[in-house]
Amino acid sequence: MDSPIVEMRDILKRFPGVVANDRVHFELCAGEVHALLGENGAGKSTLMNILSGFYRADAGEISVRGKPVNIRSPGNAIALGIGMIHQQFRLIPTFTVTENIVLGLSKLAFSLDIRAMEADVGRFSRSSGLTIDPRALIWQLSVGELQRVEILKVLYRGVDILIMDEPTAVLTPQEVKELFHVTRAMAESGKTVVFITHRLEEVMEIADRITVLRGGRNVATLRRSETSIRELAVMMVGKALPPDTAFPPAEAGDIVLELENIEAGGDRGQKALDGLSLSVRAGEIVGIAGVAGNGQRELAEVIARLRSVSRGTIRVCGKDITNREPLCAIEAGVSYIPEDRFGTGLAGELSVEENLILKEYRHAPLGRGFLIDWKKAAARALELVEQFHVKTPSLGAPANSLSGGNAQRLLLARETAARPKLIIAAQPSRGLDVRATEAVRTILDSQRRVGAAVLLISGDLDEIMKLSDRVAVIFEGRIMGIRGRDRLDMEAIGLMMGGLGESHDQA
């Protein structure tokens, strides 16, 4: 290959508590389609955000077209010809396609000749192979069309190094085909495309070269012709860790949670859950493994009743709670530890004590008729705070003054104190230090012991492996397969996470 068009060397990027990029190297050759592969926390999005100017690296060097550069902002990157299309589109819903594309362009005249701009955008979209109606309003477009607008936006600014972050996550198979077609065409016309992804099949279909990252570090960079899906899968997830003997299996009892053929929509109108079936028994932890964005959040919300299903049934201990109100789930014994600790879980300005009683205040002994017995509430809160080792200056301190780990302990204390039958734990140890993480895991394990059913959703594969009795892999809103802890096969799991079914066999 010719000399690289982009070179990133020794890139280091830290966020509080985690090293997202640990001296990563990355090279791009002109005119290629390059896949950046990895699972959660691999550091792929971070790396590309650095390249496209949204983040600044803590250390490392970047050269573009042979010259060292300092990319300080997205504007800088675009000036260098580098543009990124994120998973969350940055478009203005009430504007037209044309208005979104030309917004902020310095070459705009004072007075806008709308017709001429629309004609120009129309021409440009056709010649780029990304046909779109320049007059369409953004809120009326499908997700695939929105993506096209985003791509056009950067191309229109003269970008020739395009980075796409999980572009196929929101597309229908038909749209994926079209996207690949367009990508190929762009590469052939000399543009360079980076595909951030975790989908193995697609990687093998579209990429010329593949860089695999794991845990913030390089694993390998290879040509597509030199590797196989199986190999990539293993590289993506790494070698299996032996299950931690601190958490031996417990006896599984009756079925507590039963999901049958659940279909539900996501926030962007796409199908988040697509025929998902699953059951969880008392006394077991079922871990949901999968790359973020495959329906995990929607799955949790659907069971906690914060989201409705369009099809299928949800049963808790035999009781049908499909599409009932949240109170129904609570009364059925469902506890939810949301990903979003302070948005959905804890009321930030309210005190520790006030947060702790949120699930129990309706019944005795805390609730008596119309009133709340605050003396009993305080005693209960004290009990829980001690039992769960929540470090707080007082029971009256506002919840948002607690550290991440203590806030999570608080949340867990509240959710498990009510003796739930089912616990949904979504990313429970995200952002926590080692000690807090251990505490969280111990609590979940002890809940299992007393007979609760636990659905553990986590982006941390190691955590899933350590804690789960059974591991289910979710991909595109469906369960690809389930393995018991004695049958854990990293390769199979990697394949399933990448979109290939249980029975898939590829050389």
């Binding site: 906690a304 949301p338 006030e354």
Partner: protein, 345 residues
């Protein structure tokens, strides 16, 4: 707690300092003016009495407004709800001229509160069920209420013996709230204190009050916990209206003795400032209301040396500004800060 006291004190002091500059520029001696205001409002028993008289409707409205604001419901309609409460009470009084006080007064109270609550309901239902912005609706309803009362005064309730002055038929003695001694301090003060105590009780001890706190902090968390958000929205706004209606009833019964023009010099708007200054704390509201009552009365005293009544409005406005600045300085975004159109439900 320290911050709760710091913020209003800071705001009030800054506003007075600002006012002093204005006064000086206009040729007055600020110290002289402020001393007159102070003695006028708090210097003697008469002053105190008048201060309390002015403070009562402010207290009631502000307590009502604070209930709504706690839930991030911006009820700007206290003024209109007050007028509707006055209407409700007047209607009862004029319909039952022969009734004894023992029956009439409680009925008037009930009618006043009901009228205020219903008026708030007109804005509450669209808000709860259709997410219609309550700022505009409550505001518009203020004007409708005032014109409605004007219509009544010039029309059906008109006093034929009043030489075409816009006044309603005066109420019978039985319709007048009792006063304390020689002063004009009326039973309304007990209503206000009772309301504050009740509010403290509800917020502190009941399940409903707890749910309100949760919703006021994080509607999502409340929703997840199974709290009925819509019901809370409607009840909060109606309670808010009921208290303002009670203020209207007491003004019309104890002070005016009839339904008339200019019942309220903007109590409903002053109430908003008071509620913000007191950071929605019920007892704080009582205290700050007395201060504002004093401001009004003191303002009258200052008028004797030529300071226009408008100066009081300016001070009030300035105080509100400084509340916002104080909040920013304390970096303490309570339910007043940040997202203005934050939505519950």
């Amino acid at each position: 707690m320290a911050y709760q006291v710091f913020s209003p004190v800071f705001s009030i002091l800054c506003a007075f300092a600002f006012g002093a500059v204005f006064l000086r520029v206009s040729g007055f001696d600020p110290v002289d003016v402020y001393v007159r205001m102070l003695t006028g409002a708090f210097g003697d028993l008469y002053g105190w009495a008048e201060t309390l008289v002015k403070a009562i409707p402010i207290m009631l409205c502000a307590l009502g407004v604070s209930v709504a604001f706690r839930m991030l419901l911006w009820n700007i309609g206290a003024e209109g709800q007050l007028y509707m409460g006055a209407f409700g009470a007047s209607w009862v009084a004029l319909s039952l001229p022969e009734a004894p006080a023992v029956i009439l007064l409680p009925l008037m109270v009930a009618a006043g509160m009901a009228a205020g609550a219903l008026w708030a309901l007109v804005a509450a239902i669209p808000r709860a069920f259709l997410r219609v912005n309550e700022i505009i609706t409550t505001l518009m309803l203020n004007y409708v209420a005032i014109y409605w009362v004007e219509y009544l005064i010039y029309g059906p309730f008109r006093d034929p013996s009043a030489y075409n002055f816009p006044l309603s038929v005066p109420f019978a003695g039985a319709a007048r709230l009792p006063v304390i001694g020689d002063t004009r301090i009326h039973a309304g003060i007990f209503f206000a204190i009772l309301a504050a105590a009740l509010l403290v009780f509800v917020l502190g001890k009941t399940r409903w009050g707890y749910e309100m706190k949760v919703l006021g902090d994080s509607p999502e968390v409340g929703r997840y916990a199974g709290i009925n958000v819509r019901l809370h929205i409607v009840v909060a706004l109606c309670m808010s209206g009921a208290l303002a209606g009670l203020a209207g009833m007491s003004e019309v019964s104890a002070i005016a003795g009839r339904l008339q023009h200019g019942l309220s010099p903007g109590y409903g708007y002053t109430a908003i400032i008071v509620a913000c200054l007191a950071r929605l704390n019920p007892w704080g509201i009582i205290i700050v209301s007395i201060l504002f009552g004093g401001l009004l009365v003191g303002g009258y005293s200052a008028q004797f040396i030529g300071v226009p009544a408008a100066a009081v409005n300016m001070l009030q406005g300035a105080m509100l500004f400084f509340v916002l600045v104080a909040e920013f300085l304390g970096r303490y975004r309570l339910s007043l800060g940040g997202s203005a159109v934050e939505e519950v439900g």
